[in-house]
């Protein structure tokens, strides 16, 4: 058994906090952007206009069958060609995760929209709402509510996946732990610390989602 020195955790905390803030920022932006664009994608996939639904379907299926690390590398490579200037790893990560997660949130929103009974749509139309009004005021709120636990579970997965920005060197929590570990020559202790932090956050979030699931189920 090796010699451990966990006192390194103390001086590492400011760095871990900064890294964690980026991880959280990335998660929140990718979640809100992902749900927004994912909903648009879901509407496109359900559209009766064939070219639109096919294009949305192709985008979602492509994203879902490529490893996330490769998607991160792809965007990091391609974004500068589109914008014309090099972008930092952090900006690249935010764009990548929003685009990638949109595909996953799309599938969730699609089944959410399909879970709303047809009668709701008919009733809205009978009341004289336009198609857009029906979507915004009747279907989407119910879809969002039905799918809330699944959306949050996906967000926990997203939170864990943000650690993969390691591939392009963005400064997230894991990277902060990595740097401190190298500087103090205590890599093992720092890996353990980051594992503990990830576990504590994800485990408590998943317990909270389970509680929420029960509440949503009863109210419905």
């Amino acid at each position: 058994m090796g010699e451990f020195d966990f006192t390194v955790w103390g001086p590492s905390l400011p760095f871990i906090r900064d890294g964690l803030l980026f991880t959280l920022r990335l998660t929140l932006i990718a979640m809100s952007g992902g749900i927004f664009f994912g909903t648009l994608l879901a509407l496109a996939r359900l559209s009766p206009f064939k070219p639109l639904s096919l294009a949305a379907g192709a985008y979602v299926d492509t994203m879902r069958s490529i490893p996330l690390v490769l998607v991160i590398l792809w965007f990091f490579l391609v974004i500068p060609f589109i914008t014309g200037t090099p972008v930092g790893a952090e900006t690249s990560a935010i764009i990548t995760f929003t685009a990638f997660e949109a595909a996953f949130y799309c599938e969730i929103m699609r089944s959410g929209i399909q879970s709303v009974p047809r009668g709701q749509v008919w009733a809205a139309q009978a009341l004289g709402l336009t198609q857009a009004q029906t979507m915004i005021h009747v279907v989407l709120p119910q879809a969002l509510r039905n799918m809330l636990p699944v959306l949050l579970t996906q967000t926990i997965v997203l939170f864990q996946d943000t650690s993969l920005v390691y591939a392009i060197g963005a400064k997230d929590m894991l990277k902060a732990a990595d740097v401190v570990g190298k500087n103090y020559n205590r890599p093992v202790e720092m890996i353990v610390l980051s594992a503990l932090i990830y576990f504590a956050i994800c485990f408590s979030l998943s317990l909270a989602v389970r509680q929420l699931q029960k509440r949503v189920a009863i109210v419905r």
Partner: protein, 245 residues
């Protein structure tokens, strides 16, 4: 920015060596397949066992199964890779740890396969548990009433049915294994993503490189999908599961 296309790059020699870039990609594909298949085998063995344990009538055993699943599900796979690679050897007895660190053959491969296998086992266990849960209670009761012991009931009655039910979700898990194997690049396994990064830096033909690697991942996932569909068709018991399609 202008991009200089060069589709002939795959036949060119790498900067420091005799091989071509194509050789790098083939090596990468080999390691991706090796890690994924080894991990999948491990995941099936452990996952089925843990999934069955979680439905066991004994509370402590079921709790142990739950703890297993929660542990692997709530830590990012990349961090788990680092844990197995850097941390676990420190907790082994000194001579073992030293052997692992210095002499163990194909250390990166073994670590990655073990890590991905355990990670996937937690997900397989969830599916197996759901499959067992979807069986009518009467199946277990009838098996016990016939005089089978509980392990026998699992072996001959419950698992054969439950496993057939969970083949579709296991198919997507199998495809996930190939995708997740890409994370093994971080501990130095020379699989496809590792080769993609290396070739992109060496040749500066990033787009061609990533296109080729993306295509190879597609082929892996597609083959995995067809393979599982074949198993599903081969193991189907007529009339057992109502086909929805």
């Amino acid at each position: 920015m202008n991009y200089h296309w060069n589709w002939g790059v795959f036949g060119e020699q790498v900067k420091a060596g005799e091989e071509t870039y194509l050789d790098w990609l083939i090596t990468g594909l080999g390691w991706t397949l090796a890690v994924s298949l080894a991990a999948w085998l491990l995941a099936l063995l452990i996952g089925i066992a843990v999934g069955a344990l979680r439905t066991a009538p004994s509370r402590p055993i079921a709790l142990l199964g739950t703890a297993w699943v929660e542990l692997f599900r709530n830590i990012p796979l990349l961090v788990q890779m680092f844990l197995w690679f850097f941390v676990v050897p420190e907790f082994l007895p000194p001579d073992w740890g030293l052997w692992v660190k210095q002499e163990m053959p194909a250390k990166e491969f073994a670590t990655a396969a073990l890590c991905l296998g355990f990670f996937t086992s937690a997900r397989v266990a969830e599916q197996v548990r759901a499959g067992i849960g979807s069986l009518p209670r009467g199946q277990r009761d009838a098996a016990l009433a016939l005089g089978l012991t509980l392990p026998q009931a699992y072996r001959h009655v419950i698992l054969p049915q439950a496993l057939r039910i969970v083949i579709p979700p296991l198919t997507s898990e199998f495809m996930n294994v190939f995708k997740n194997s890409s994370i093994a690049f971080a501990i130095g396994v020379m699989e496809l993503t590792f080769q993609a990064r290396q070739m992109q830096e060496d040749s500066e033909q990033g787009i061609e490189t990533y296109l080729a690697v993306t295509l190879l991942y597609f082929i892996c996932a597609f083959t995995a999908n067809r393979g599982m569909a074949w198993i599903e068709a081969r193991t189907r018991v007529p009339g057992l599961i109502a086909r929805t399609s």
